[in-house]
Structures are given as C-alpha cells and as structure tokens.
C-alpha cells in the first residue's frame, strides 16, 4: 500500500528528470497542496452531494486540476528560466519553493499548523480471508494506485503525447527540429507529474485519515530516494525504488525489535534512510542506472 504511494511520487520525479534533467524538489509539497485542496473541496461540497462516491469524484478532479495548474506555473516561471543555470540552482529553487508552499499552508490555511482530519470516504468494512482481514478501502486504494501507474506507463509508451515526451527526454534539440513544441511538452509533463503527486496526496489522506502541512517533506524525500535508488529517469526503477523503500520501512519496523530488543520500531525511518545511503555508496547511479556516457 505504502509502496504504491511512494512509487507514484517517485514516478513524478522520474518524469521531470527524464524530460528536463531537473529535480523538482517541491514535488512532495505539491502532494501536500493537493491533499489540502481535496480537503477544502470536501468541506465546500459536503452539504451539496450525499453520495460519497460523487464527493470523491469531485474531490479528485478539483485537487488534481489545482495541482496540475500549480505544476504548470512552476515549470513556466521557475524551471524553464533556469534551464541554462547549473542543475544545483534548480534543485535549490525547488527546495525553497517547497519550503515556501509548506509555510504558506502552515500560516494561511485556517489552523494549518495542526494535523487535519481527512474525511473517511471509502467504505471501511473488510473482507475476511481466514484470520486476515482485508479492508475494502485499502484494496480500492491499492487498485487505484496500480491502475494509475499502469495508465501512466501506457501513456508514456503508447500514446502520441508519450512519444513526444520520450522524444524530448531523448534529445530536446532534435525533438524541437522535428516540430515538437518543446515548451508545451515540458508543461504537459509537469502537469502530469503534479497531478500524480496530488493523487498520491489524496491516497495518503484517505489511508491515514489525516493530512498535515509537513507530510509533503517526508513523502517527497522518500519519493526522491526511491527515484534515485531506482535510477533517476528510469520508469521501472522508480516503481522498484518505491516498493523497496516501503519494504525497508516495514522490515525495519518488524525486524529491528526482533533482532535487537533494545531498539524500538520507531527507528524504521532511520533504518530505511541508512540503507538508502548504503545503497547510494554501493550503486552510485541507482539500481537500474541511466544509460548515458560522460561527455568530455
């Protein structure tokens, strides 16, 4: 379940990196903004519609479009002007943008510094398989996540837009010569990535029934780690990385207290990040590395 959310976030990072070779670090905070947009929409429409499914649909639509719009603005005014600057500048700009978004929500969203309850819109009853109870909402979320990832993968590999995105990712100069509207493709990619982030944010909110102004930071870093560990710019790497990180957290939570009784399971994040740092030392360009050669 967590793996799917992480993988969706990581796919966003991968999209940006593949197309423009930039890291958009505000990705996690777009996710948070998406979740908050969803929450606000829910408060706005809660009285109008009765069916939770209809509410959910409106919620998803509004939140995704707000995030996509935000993504397009960021790409247009922050990422594209900095295209010629050193990559570290882009990284910093987006890091700072993430901080700014986080602070904006904390300061200006009503009572934004406290965690907010997220509406429980999915049916919570479970299906019992033996002793193991499978909750319907987890199942729906899991299915949504998998469908989304498959859909994005199909979009990238099969559709015309996907072809254009891949062309720009391969060689933006040539793509431009071939008549691809470079700017438009970049904007579309960022909209797609941001919408994915918002979806991940909503899924996270529906799963934990709580959203928090700082949830984006940790999810963003985890998504980034997953994308990097999988190999930046590699679609499958991102998915592998996402599930790997979720697995590490679970293993950390379960195994650490079992092996070392003095270590509580709260160390699961410490463990997961430590393993990530070790992997980076062993495989500096990720598990599935980029196919590129050094230009001298």
């Amino acid at each position: 379940m967590l793996g799917v959310i992480y993988a969706i976030v990581a796919v966003g990072f991968t999209l940006y990196f593949g197309v423009l070779d930039v890291i958009k670090f505000s990705h996690g905070d777009i996710l948070m903004v998406g979740a908050f947009a969803g929450l606000t929409t829910y408060i706005g429409i809660a009285g109008t519609f009765d069916s939770p499914w209809l509410q959910l649909l409106v919620l998803v639509l509004v939140s995704l479009s707000i995030a996509a719009f935000l993504g397009a603005i960021i790409a247009r005014y922050l990422i594209l002007p900095l295209q010629k600057a050193p990559p570290i500048n882009t990284l910093l700009v987006t890091l700072m943008l993430g901080l700014a978004l986080r602070e904006l929500v904390r300061l200006f969203y009503p009572n934004g510094s406290n965690p907010k309850p997220f509406p429980r819109l999915l049916p919570g009853d479970g299906i019992a398989i033996g002793e193991f109870i499978l909750r319907a909402d987890s199942l729906i979320l899991l299915a949504t996540g998998v469908i989304t990832i498959v859909a994005v993968q199909r979009l990238i590999t099969k559709s015309k837009i996907g072809l254009a995105i891949r062309a720009v990712a391969q060689d933006s100069e040539t793509a431009r010569i071939m008549g691809i509207n470079f700017r438009q493709i970049v904007l579309i990619t960022f909209m797609l990535g941001s919408a994915l982030a918002a979806l991940a944010g909503l899924m996270n909110g529906l799963y934990y029934n709580e959203v928090n102004f700082s949830m984006g930071l940790l999810l963003g870093v985890i998504g980034f780690s997953a994308a990097v560990v999988g190999g930046l710019g590699n679609f499958y790497g991102a998915i592998v990385g996402g599930f790997l990180f979720a697995a590490l957290q679970t293993v950390g939570a379960v195994l650490l207290p079992a092996i070392l009784p003095s270590v509580p399971s709260a160390y699961k994040d410490v463990f997961a990040f430590a393993v990530i740092i070790i992997i980076m030392g062993l495989k500096p360009t990720g598990l599935i590395s980029e196919k590129s050669s050094e230009r001298v």
Partner: protein, 380 residues
Amino acid sequence: MKLLISTFIVCLIYCILLLGAENQLEVGALVAIAFVASLVGKKTGFMDRLAVAVSQRPSFPATASVIGVLVMMAVFHNSHFALLMLATVLIYSIVCLGLNIQFGYVGIVNFAGAAFFGIGSYTAAVLATHTAVPHLLVLFIAATISALIGSILIYPVLRTRGHYAALVTIAFGILFRNFLEVNDTLGGPQGLKIPPLTIFGWNLSDGLEVGGVEISFYIPYLVIALVLLIATFRITRNLERSWIGLSMDMVRTDEIAASTFGVNIAHWKIVAFTLGNFVAGLAGALYGMMTAYVAPNNFTFADSLILVSIVILGGIGNPWGIIPAAAIVVILPEKLQFIQEYRFLLYAIVVILILLFRPDGLLPRRVRQYFPASRAGGKE
C-alpha cells in the same frame, strides 16, 4: 583610507542603532535606509570606489570588523538580547564558513548542515554532563566527532555526484533528526540541558563585574566565538589563496579536466567535507553551551536550508559575503517581530529571487587576483 574609515564608522553606528532599536518602526526605518543607501551607493559609483580602496588595503576589512565587534560588545555590555544575537551571527558565520569550504570550493552541497551543527551540540551536552573533560577541550572533541560522523557519509558522497550526492546529505539530515526524536537516552523530542561552559573553574554563565560595571554573561561566549571565527576565517581565506584552493576550484569546475591534470579529486573532496563538518560541529558545541539547551527541533531540514541560503545569499565561495548574509538572516527576523512567524517563508522567497535574478549573491566571488592592482603595475 579616509573613505574606508568613514564608511566603517557609519556602518558601525548603523549596526549599533539596529541592534539597540526596540521599536518596530525604528527598525523598519533603519532597514529601509540601508536598502536605499545601497541602491544610491551603487548608482553613484560609491561602491566601486569602496571596492578599489579595499583592494589597496586588503587587511583593513578584517581589522575593522574585529574592532567593530569589540566596540559593539562594549556598547551592549549589559544587554543580553543584543549580545545573544551578535553571538548567534558570529556562530552562524562559522558554520557557513564550513559549508562554504564544502559548497563554494569543492562543490559538495551539504544539505545536512544543521545535522552536523546538532552533532556538535549533542556531543557537548553529553560530554559536559557525564564527564569531567575540560570544557574548552569539549569544543574540539565535539568538532572531531562531528567530522568523524561525517566521514561515514564520505564514501557515498565521493562515489556520487550532483543530485545523487544531494540525496545522500538530505537523507542523512532527516535520518539524524528522526534518530534524535526517537532516542530516549538523548532526551527524545524534549532534548537535553547543557551545563554552562567552565574554564579553569570559572563558570562563564555567572557573568562578572569589572570595576563596578556588571557585564553580561554572553560576553565571554562572544569572545570565544570571535576568536573561533577569526581562526576559521583565516583558515578558509588562506585555503582559498593557496594551491589547495586552486585544486579545490578545479575539482568544482570540472572533475574530469581536474583528474586529467593529476588533481586527486577524492582527496580534496574528503579534505573539504571533513573540514567543513569539523567547523560546523565546533560552532554547534559553542552554540549549545551558550544557549544551555539542545532539542531535535533546532536541527530540522529547514534549518539546513537556511544555512545553505546564507552561503548563497553571501555569494557562493566568498567568505566575505557570509558575515553580512548571516547578520541579515539572524537579526532581521528577530528585530522585526512581525517577520518572525513568516521567516522561513521570507527566506525561501528571497533565495528563489536571488537564484532567479542574481545567482551570484550579494558579494559575488571575484576571479582570483594574484597581485594587488598597484603592485602589478597596471591601472586596473
């Protein structure tokens, strides 16, 4: 020389006014004056004349700054808050000088600056509480431990580049804070108390009286911070001017070219990374002892970003830019109370604007000048 001295006196009076101002309006007016003055100075060519004057007397700014700090110490000898801010500026400058060695010279961005700062504080806390190590020594042990823990990161940092290296430090920063939050021996989220610095049986936090005048207990800390800052500054400056700095510049600008010229990239990266973390740990230990308290919340990712933004604001690679940048970042939010709540937001926006419109920072680093203009014989 006249120009330099008069500028110095004006700046000094300005700083004293700013630190002493209590009214929001006064502070606002002072900030506005500084902004207008810098614009006017730029338009009338005053800044250029100043730059030429400085280049003729390269040692003047350093002496002047030290005298400036001493004068301010004398003026505010009894007001705790102003001294605390002054000391914080100095300590932040020390940390950022360390980050500057990493980021400005060899080009490793350390997004875990606050973590190494925190390692220094926590080591000082543990050592000062549980052992009888002399406290001045504690500072250096804390710095060494910070450098040692940093060396765990060296292997992945060396093997990775660009975004991948950035991830390693980000992951470490978050790991560190998570670790502190869940670790009960280190106080968990509540943090630890640190006993005050004691030198040769003299408890620095008692304050002292000289000739009937009561002197704030921050003064001794300020003196130590000043001494450490001067030492760090001299080291960074000399590093930059030596062949080591030259090699480091080469590593930053083009690793492949550097290695074809026989520069050992790994070697210089290790030196810079370790030295930077050492300095950050040193400053962290002093800061911890001064404020007598450490908690994980002081070392968040946002704090690391602020440290990085000081380096960028000052002008990447230019040690001179760091001190005014640190002063702006530390003093402004403290003085303008209504900014306090919004400070992270403001920093973020300011850094974004700087990166978009003035990527070199306030005082951009200049191209190396091996001989002062007058001695080289040319006019320029």
